[in-house]
Symmetry: C2
Subunit: 240 residues, 2 copies
DNA sequence: CGATATGTTGAGACCCGTCAATTAGGGTGG
DNA sequence: CCACCCTAATTGACGGGTCTCAACATATCG
């Protein structure tokens, strides 16, 4: 993958933090995830239509779910009434792990496309975790990984400019989408509206458009109606 | 606490998310924390001098620690070489929980004042967690709470201006400091340099100074050499 | 007292937000 | 198939928030 030497990469940001664990935990984590997934596949999957509401903001969550297919957006309203896009949920992502343990009420979850979701009630998950320590361990690992991702996001959101923020978001989606369906490597189509990108990053739509236009002029991305094609993820990783 | 009615509060941001758990988990959490703390008090506390390094960036953490007294700063270097202030550690805060479970290497930890720290090795914590499910549960709860705090931070960092960011940071420190020593309620002295505030929030020192000056002119805070006194936390919570 | 760190202030530039108008894509009903 | 509408994307002019560079004042420490 030839790259000009003067390009510095965002090695810290968007790093895949899954180092091999030398302490023998990985086998326990594998078993824990397996047990949790087994409990979920035992129940019938729920199907949500596009643009339907999966969870209303402020409602108490009673289930832990895994996204099987489709994508959803998690939003929460800010104190001044604006609404921000908290996260994009893709296949493999979990919903409701935080509320399982601390009863917190997070934002709303809305299906962006038709979705299939496997769930398990909080009570059932807690029973599983008490019965099999590996399940509790996997939940702990999951929350820890979320934490590490949050820390990277905070670094970008606090110290990055619009180019860096948008590049980080696109790379994040790029990696997560590629993990699922790694058929054609490039381009990967990120199904995000420029308005959504702005809502996620705290940027206005016109400025998102202008910044994306810079990437487009350099041949790094291609813009279409309702999404962005990533042509050169390596160029996105490079600064300047 | 009389307040002009037109003031809106940051009810979402900086909210204390510890809702009472109705599912009987709180007793397990209490026991889990107790067991972990018992293991820590059994070991002798470590003392660090002010400005000494507790953990170097990139080093592998081998212990889980709790801050007993003093304060520390956790920094990490950004891809462009700048260094950001990731968090301020106060008495009661934990160090090294994330690395326990995923082997991640986070930033450096440096004592800001003389510090006293109680620790337990990763191996010992894992043994405790395997033996007593309540300990694993408490760790899970701890990481979940960290996650919720991170999400609030991301909302402020992405969608807030300098006034909101600084107010949020000061309120965060105010609440955490008050929890420890709630002798004189006001003023609470936040021992943060304006340079540090900027490093934490991604703002430059001159702009931090100008923004803090606004708060000072309104009688909300008082600035002194090396820190800020918070005179009116309620005014900090109010928007505008 | 000197040295260093911190806080303060000003001028100018740049990044980004605001408001507005325009173009284009995609769905829906006739 | 076409007319229509709604959403998404684009672009320009302007203003404000923040950064940059700089100088200076002040506090603390040795």
């Amino acid at each position: 993958m030839p790259m000009p030497a003067e390009w510095q990469e965002y090695s810290y940001w968007n790093s895949d933090q899954s180092e091999p664990l030398e302490n023998g935990l990985s086998e326990h984590l594998r078993l824990g995830k397996l047990a949790l997934m087994a409990g979920m596949t035992a129940t019938t999957a729920r199907i949500f239509a596009a643009r339907s509401t999966i969870r209303k903001e402020g409602d108490l969550e009673t289930m832990v779910s895994e996204v099987v297919s489709g994508s959803a957006s998690c939003r929460c309203t800010l104190p001044d009434g604006r609404t921000m896009l908290a996260s994009i949920l893709l296949p493999g992502d979990m919903i409701g792990v935080s509320s399982l343990i601390d009863g917190s009420r997070s934002g709303s979850v809305e299906a962006r496309t038709q979705m299939s979701v496997r769930s398990l009630s909080h009570a059932e998950v807690l029973r599983l975790a008490a019965e099999k320590p590996d399940v509790a361990l996997w939940l702990l690992w999951h929350q820890t990984r979320e934490n590490n991702r949050s820390n990277e996001w905070m670094a970008v959101l606090s110290h990055g400019n619009a180019r860096e923020k948008i590049a980080f978001l696109l790379l994040d989606l790029y990696r997560r989408l590629q993990r699922e369906a790694h058929v054609g490597d490039v381009p990967v189509r990120v199904p995000l509206t420029q308005r959504e990108i702005g809502e996620r990053l705290g940027l206005t739509l016109p400025h998102v458009c202008r910044t994306v236009a810079l990437f487009r002029e350099r041949g790094i991305v291609e813009v279409f109606y309702g999404g962005i094609d990533i042509l050169s993820p390596h160029a996105l990783m490079a600064r300047t």
